[in-house]
């Protein structure tokens, strides 16, 4: 069972503002899902390598040649607060950690 306190902590990590009732519901729903998922922790996986990716990847680097990319105007066109120097944001203020 996930405690309400843990839900609040995870919501802070995820930068999600949850209302009281949302957080309560989340605790119940996540607990139910985690209960189902828990079963895999009983499997014997001693010595099994983890798979993070199915493709056997090596570094895939292209040649370091300049090429055209978006102009600053294109990159800023969809921003909520474009400024001449870049993306405008509110002051970090007191909410910053």
């Amino acid at each position: 069972m996930l405690e309400r306190q843990q839900v609040d902590h995870v919501a802070r990590l995820a930068r999600l503002e949850l209302s009281d009732s949302e957080a309560d519901t989340m605790a119940v729903e996540l607990s139910k899902i985690l209960d189902h998922i828990e079963a895999i922790r009983a499997l014997d996986l001693e010595g099994v390598e983890p798979t993070s990716h199915v493709v056997d990847l090596v570094n895939a680097l292209r040649a370091d040649v300049p090429q055209r990319s978006l102009t600053p105007q294109q990159a800023l066109a969809q921003a909520p607060e474009p400024t001449e120097a870049g993306f405008g944001v509110p002051s970090p203020g007191q909410g910053a950690e």
Binding site: A14, A39, I40, R41, V48, T51, V55, A77, P80, G95
Partner: protein
């Protein structure tokens, strides 16, 4: 005349245009007007103007394609079914969409989907649910539900979707069409708004297997903008196989029993199809995927974990919604995300953040990655004995709108048969194999990595024998609401 045109598959339409018997502009306008009427809420955007003529000799000849909302399309709304991207018009186009346009398949429309591809019913779209053309009281499946409904109803000749844990195959099954998830890496992910990067893969949703092969042929290939993309060992061919002589089909007991919650009507249709396969010369034998029942648990750790990282970019700074812009930065982030994301997306971000958080990482994420290794090994062992794995695509047929939307876990169980192949990165195709109580049932065939041509050939042979008839969905599903 337009009803006759509508009965042409996409490949037949390509052939007719190339033979000079059909005008590409007429075909585009037929589908454009049908899509614009949209009785199923299948679309989030439909082209207003005729497409530019396809280049002379272009292999797809101007037969237009509908594209899932999450593919970025320059200057055209690309919102991934989310409020947080409402009105977002990207400055560039996804590689697969650009490749199809160059091959002569212009953009017809953008299709509705579950928000950020998280869902199995299309009820998680911020733009309203999509209706199933076979029965409008039912869901079309998800997350590529708009693409599946549009193709089934004849509102688009063919469509693009994406599949992370079944999001092409399951809606294809629910809507009675063909859906193919290629080998991971076959199609570039550049310009696909990401859900879970180690699993996401683009693929075709089409009326038949030949159309799937034709569309896929022009989607695949290495792309310098996606370092996980690969060149396939051979070009995708159009299927032609008429029998299944010498083909060994493996039926994994773990994914084909009622223990997995598989509906008896689905199983009956599945077993009848296996009999057809035998009649075509295939051998059908039991096989085992011992860890497959644990795939769902591993998936619902890995996919949300990757999603929690991918969706961190939606913070009200570079694009999309911003809420509480007058407060401090951290409050702006949290409030923007709270208002912009729907309930299921929040649930998965929370689940993924929790699974990756300090003290839980190895217990959840590490364990899930080890299960993923076991699942890949299970498939490798199975493919030493059989050519293809065959299962029902989904445990049930299309369910009623609202039936599972308040029980996240019940919704996740829809992915029981499709998730193992996603974790292993192998190709799998769903073809319609019959009806159960008047609703389509899907049959899934899965093969080893890069076996697309053999998989398409086997699916084609079976498709000819099963002779599924999707005409009623086109007649009924395209009618006004």
């Amino acid at each position: 005349m337009s009803q006759d045109l509508l009965e042409l598959s996409a490949a037949q339409a390509v052939a007719a245009i190339r033979a000079g018997e059909l005008d590409a502009a007429e075909l585009f306008e037929l589908y454009r007007s049908r899509a614009a009427a949209d009785p199923l809420n299948a679309f989030t955007w439909v082209a207003e103007d005729a497409a530019a003529a396809a280049p002379a000799g272009a292999p797809l000849a101007g037969v237009p394609v509908a594209v899932k909302d999450l593919f970025c399309t320059e200057g055209v709304p690309s919102q991934s079914g989310s409020r947080i991207l409402e009105g977002y018009r990207p400055p560039y186009t996804a590689t697969v969409v650009a490749k199809l346009a160059r091959a002569g398949a212009p953009l017809l429309a953008k299709t509705n989907q579950d928000e950020f591809a998280m869902g199995s019913s299309n009820e998680n779209s911020a733009y309203g649910p999509v209706l199933n053309p076979w029965d409008r009281a039912r869901v079309p499946g998800g997350s590529s539900g708009g693409s599946a409904a549009a193709v089934a109803a004849g509102l688009a000749p063919w469509a693009l979707g994406t599949d992370t844990g079944g999001s092409i195959r399951q809606p294809a099954a629910f809507c009675g069409i063909v859906g193919l998830k290629p080998t991971y890496g076959a199609c570039s992910r550049y310009g696909m708004i990401a859900f879970a990067s180690s699993l996401d893969q683009a693929g075709p949703l089409t009326r038949d297997v030949t159309d799937a092969a034709l569309l896929l042929r022009h989607m695949v290939g290495r792309d310098q903008n996606d370092s996980t993309s690969l060149e396939l060992p051979e070009e995708i061919r159009l299927p032609s196989r008429g029998d299944l002589k010498g083909v060994r089909l493996g039926v994994p007991q773990e994914l084909t029993g009622t223990a997995g919650g598989i509906d008896p009507g689905v199983l009956a249709s599945f077993e009848a199809s296996l009999a057809q396969a035998q009649a075509l010369g295939a051998s059908v034998e039991p096989c085992t995927l011992p860890h497959a029942p644990h795939a769902l648990s591993a998936y619902y750790i890995i996919a949300p974990a990757e999603a929690s990282a991918n969706l961190a970019r939606f913070d009200g700074v570079r694009y999309g919604l911003r809420v509480a812009g007058d407060s401090d930065l951290d409050t702006m982030y949290s409030c923007t995300r709270a208002h912009g994301f729907g309930a299921e997306v929040k649930r998965r971000i929370m689940l993924g953040t929790y699974a990756l958080s300090s003290g839980y990482y190895d217990a959840y994420y590490g364990t899930a990655q080890r299960v993923r290794t076991r699942i890949s090994q299970d498939f490798q062992s199975a493919f030493a004995e059989v050519d293809f794995i065959v299962t029902p695509t989904a445990p049930t047929t299309a369910f009623e709108l609202g039936a599972k939307s308040h029980d996240p876990l019940a919704m996740y169980l829809n992915d029981f048969c499709t998730v193992p192949m996603s974790l292993a990165g192998i190709p799998a195709i769903s073809i319609p194999c019959g009806l159960s109580d008047g609703l389509p049932v899907g049959l899934q065939l899965a093969g080893p990595a890069f076996s697309e041509n053999a998989l398409l050939d086997a699916a084609y042979a079976l498709e000819q024998a099963l002779a599924f008839d999707g005409r009623s969905a086109r007649a009924g599903g395209g009618a006004p609401a």
